[in-house]
């Protein structure tokens, strides 16, 4: 059994519980073992870096230090956490003053940085380590005729991501491997507004609306996401946004792992599918 270290991030223990459930379900099904990083802490997302640069290095660095105690790559399902962890790793290599600052602070708190694991997004790991061939092999219920758009979001592909920052391909390829019909979508890596949704909703509403409207126009039945933040903004606020801009129609926002699970024959409840604010029952009728 291949083993990875798992950094779920705060959301997956709360608002994105469904993501966590489907991740564990699918990877279990693929005989991949996840070991949760012991005593991990919040990555600081985009908030801590806005307030205090050193703290924003310290938070992810502590996770990297804890993860370094075990073996295996560090797999991260959340785009924001992925970017935070990867960026700190990058900074620690590139900037001597950051590296020394972090190590010095750690030494005063009994923490040592013995090494750093490879930080990889869950999608990256599935594409590169599991591979499309294996995924196709595991599909028992192809998502035939399910029309989707894949929405990678920004921090999966920028600035240090593994896919093309303008026109990411991995999620499209994975969804096609599951049998879904992937529609052309120009906003694959546009931004969902992230935390602006709370502080400046007028900005975030417009961003989400633009994404949802294009998805509807190209005829998508669902939007597939790789990040709990994207999911929350697109799903939970969809009602309010529709009201504000007088839009009709609702689009379910689903995690890619949930569709993987369905295609591989796992049950809806096992994958947390009922937890979407916008129900996906209708869209999924034809496959389940």
């Amino acid at each position: 059994m291949v083993a990875y270290q798992y950094y779920p991030g705060c959301s997956l223990h709360a608002s994105a519980r469904d993501y966590d459930e489907s991740v564990r379900g699918v990877l279990g099904h693929l005989a991949i073992k996840l070991e949760e990083v012991p005593d991990w802490n919040c990555c600081g997302a985009t908030i801590t870096p806005s307030l205090n640069q050193l703290q924003s290095q310290i938070l992810p660095a502590r996770n990297l230090a804890l993860a370094a105690e075990n073996r295996g790559d560090l797999v991260v399902p959340c785009n924001a956490c992925y970017m935070s962890l990867k960026k700190v790793q990058h900074n620690m290599v590139k900037y001597k003053e950051i590296r020394e600052g972090v190590i010095d602070i750690f030494s005063q708190a009994g923490l040592s940085l013995t090494g750093m694991p490879e930080v990889r997004h869950l999608l990256e790991m599935i594409m590169e380590d599991v591979g499309l061939a294996k995924v196709k092999e595991m599909v028992t219920k192809p998502l035939k005729d399910l029309k989707i758009v894949s929405y990678s979001g920004c921090q999966l592909v920028r600035p240090l991501g593994f896919d093309d920052p303008e026109d990411p391909q991995a999620l499209d390829q994975l969804m096609e491997a599951l049998g879904a019909k992937v529609l052309p979508f120009s906003q694959k890596s546009h931004c969902c507004g992230s935390s602006l949704m709370t502080t400046q909703p007028e900005l975030a509403f417009k961003m989400v609306d633009s994404i949802l409207e294009e998805a509807k126009k190209v005829g998508a039945e669902m939007v597939v996401v790789t990040c709990p933040m994207c999911q929350l903004n697109l799903d939970a606020y969809q009602g309010q946004i529709n009201n504000k801009f007088n839009r009709t129609g609702q689009l379910p926002i689903i995690y890619f792992t949930q569709l993987m699970g369905l295609a591989m024959g796992l049950s809806k409840s096992q994958l947390g599918i009922q937890r979407g604010i916008v129900s996906s029952n209708k869209a999924l009728e034809k496959i389940v």
């Binding site: 093309d164 303008e166 026109d167 052309p184 120009s186 126009k217």
Partner: protein, 650 residues
């Protein structure tokens, strides 16, 4: 102890050196060294009086070695060598210490600079003692020229050499000459019709008794050296007998692949057959068979309708490739450029949105003999009511190419004019800086401004398609506002890039490329036509992006270089070269792979390496790599270098 008589001359270079380095102090200190009989400093050592001073000292004081502390030897070593020779001393008994570029220009602290200058001069003194007199050699020149590339600059160069009465081999990779210019409609700033000015030159090439044209051909090997190259050329089979083909096009009409293959000459905007005439003015005007798409050649399954249709019986599927070998005195490289593939910048929607096109596609669209017969049309056949031109796609951008592609500002303005001229749509130009530097260019820009084109200062950031309409997103930086401007058509004015096979060509010819990937000239200002390999010259966009006037000028300049060595009849070869001590050579072959100029070969009988000193450039790479120390570079041998280091460190 050797008893040399060394003269040391420290140049002030006005205040260039003396402003930082205390030249008098350096002179005084160096004069204390025993073998230095003369030490002088002077305002301009390279001036006539400066040189006279050196010559007189050599004659009067019997100097046998000279050290000059001045600028880079690249600048004035030949000058001072001539001075030594004028006084009867071998020019290689000279050593220059570069106290300008290496000291005064890069050091702020005056004391440090003086100290460093003194060290360098001491090194030079130690070294010059070990210099040996060496002689330059002369070799005869073959009076033929090979031009590689049949675009406008290659054509210009070939015609000029041919007109001077000398033989030219013109090698073109495509089936026809004319290059990119043949695709244009109008040229800036005069709006001359490209075909009208280019076609006569193409015809001249075809008719000149001094030009042997080889199309569908490429250079696969170059041996030899300046004045005496042997070039091997592979001519691919064309499956058409050129003596019989009349260029009538009957084969094209008959071909069962008709209208099924994207036509390269039309940048994919039209479809062609597998047998076709490239374009009506093509030289040579002969049919071409596309071996990648011909059903007979690829699958042996075809009714051979073309063969039946050809009245001249010109089609011959039994042709094979031919290898030619030419002896030439010089080579002119004019291989042109590739257009940046706009798909590499997906944010502009090229390849995704039908009405996003590149500049060459627009050229074909406006060309009267092009796919739309000169009409500017959208994918649905209608005329656009608004057009955006985005500058700098793939240029001036760290993510793609850092350099400015130089022609796009002007061609964009030309596009704007042509749109106004053809269909009077609104035109938006998205630019970073307008660079209209040539003769008549600013005036042309001014004229197009007056035609009512909207110039938006801001780089197009993205092209979106909203409700079926293209939208260019950019900041109007003069307004300081984010803008979304809806248009019907977007023209991406993409970068000019080094050709995809530039590295291969550079290796075949043994020349270098600069950081941007274009072929490297030997001096960017004073020698932009020659390469670092003697006898190989550059013309046109293979050296850097340039417009037609500049390409033509460089083509002529390259021709002049080639004619110059033919006129002299002989070339001088630098005496600095490597030699192999066959007693010490172990035949390990390390040096052979290292030599960029292919000057080293293994003697199969003795199993020792041998150097062709005429080809050797004296770069020293082999000497550094030779593990047994068998290779020695004259004028740069280990003893001399170590002595210099010791002198500097002393």
């Amino acid at each position: 102890m050797s008893d040399h008589k060394i003269g040391v001359y420290v140049c002030h270079c006005g205040s260039n050196i003396n402003g930082v380095v205390n030249c008098a102090k350096v002179t005084e200190e160096i004069g204390k060294i025993g073998e230095v009989v003369v030490a002088k400093d002077y305002k301009y050592m390279c001036s006539d009086p400066g040189q006279e001073m050196i010559k007189n000292d050599i004659k009067e004081k019997g100097l046998d070695r000279v050290v000059i502390a001045a600028c880079s030897p690249r600048m004035h070593e030949p000058t001072f060598r001539r001075a030594l020779e004028g006084a009867g001393l071998n020019g290689y008994l000279l050593e220059m210490a570069n106290i300008r570029e290496h000291v005064s220009w890069v050091t702020k602290d005056k004391e440090e600079a003086t100290k460093k200058a003194l060290s360098l001069v001491k090194g030079a003194v130690k070294r010059v003692k070990l210099h040996e007199p060496i002689e330059e050699r002369e070799v005869p020149v073959t009076n033929t020229t090979l031009v590689l590339g049949g675009g406008i600059s290659g054509i210009q160069a070939a015609l000029q050499v041919a007109e001077a009465g000398h033989k030219v081999y013109l090698i073109e990779q495509k089936q026809y000459i004319g290059g990119n210019m043949a695709k244009f409609d109008k040229t800036f700033p005069t709006l001359d019709c490209a075909a009208c000015i280019l076609t006569p030159k193409m015809v001249d090439v075809g008719q000149s008794p001094n030009i042997e044209l080889y199309t569908s051909s490429e250079v696969i090997k170059v041996d030899g050296y300046v004045g005496n190259f042997t070039v091997t050329v592979r001519e691919k089979p064309r499956y058409i007998n050129h003596d019989k083909c009349t260029g009538c096009g009957d084969c094209a009409s008959a071909c069962i692949m008709k209208n099924r293959i994207p036509h390269e000459f039309d940048e994919g905007l039209s479809k062609r057959s597998a047998a076709y005439i490239p374009f009506p003015q093509a030289v040579p005007l002969k049919a071409v068979i596309d071996d990648g798409n011909c059903l007979f050649l690829t699958r042996k399954k075809c009714t051979l309708a073309c063969v039946k249709a050809c009245g001249a019986k010109a089609i011959n599927f039994n042709q094979h490739e031919t290898i030619h070998e030419f002896k030439v005195g010089s080579i002119i490289l004019a291989t042109g450029f590739d257009l940046f593939d706009a798909k590499r910048a997906p944010q502009y929607g090229y390849g995704r949105y039908a009405n996003v096109i590149n500049g060459l596609q627009f050229e074909r669209m406006t060309n009267a003999s092009g796919p739309t017969s000169g009409h500017i049309t959208l994918a649905d056949g209608t005329e656009p009511k608004s057009v955006a031109v985005i500058h700098c796609v793939g240029s001036r951008d760290e993510n793609y190419n850092k350099y400015c592609s130089r022609v796009c500002c002007m061609s964009s303005v030309k596009f704007a004019h042509l749109v106004k001229d053809h269909c009077d749509a609104e035109v938006y130009e998205f630019y970073i800086d307008m660079r209209t530097f040539g003769k008549g260019y600013e005036e042309f820009y001014n004229r197009v401004q007056e035609e009512g084109v909207h110039f938006v200062r801001g780089k197009g950031a993205e092209v979106a398609q909203i409700d079926g309409r293209l939208v260019v997103i950019a900041e109007d930086t003069l307004l300081g506002q984010y803008r979304e401007i809806p248009v019907d058509m977007v023209i991406l004015n993409t970068a000019l890039e080094p050709r995809v096979d530039a590295e291969k060509v550079a290796q075949t010819l043994g020349i270098s490329r600069s950081g941007d990937g274009f072929f490297m000239e030997s001096h960017i200002k004073l020698d932009p036509v020659t390469t670092t390999t003697d006898g190989i010259y550059l013309a046109g966009c293979c050296q850097s992006p340039k417009d037609i006037p500049d390409s033509v000028a460089q083509g002529s300049a390259a021709a002049a270089q080639s004619l110059a060595i033919i006129a002299t009849g002989k070339v001088k070869i630098s005496p600095i070269s490597a030699s192999i001590d066959s007693e010490q050579c172990a035949g390990c072959r390390i040096c052979i792979g290292l030599c960029t100029y292919r000057a080293i070969k293994l003697n199969e009988e003795t199993l020792r390496a041998e150097i062709n000193e005429a080809v050797c450039k004296g770069c020293g790479t082999c000497a550094a790599g030779c593990p047994s120390g068998a290779i020695r570079v004259s004028h740069f041998n280990d003893d001399q270098l170590l002595a210099q280091i010791e002198g500097v460190l002393a």
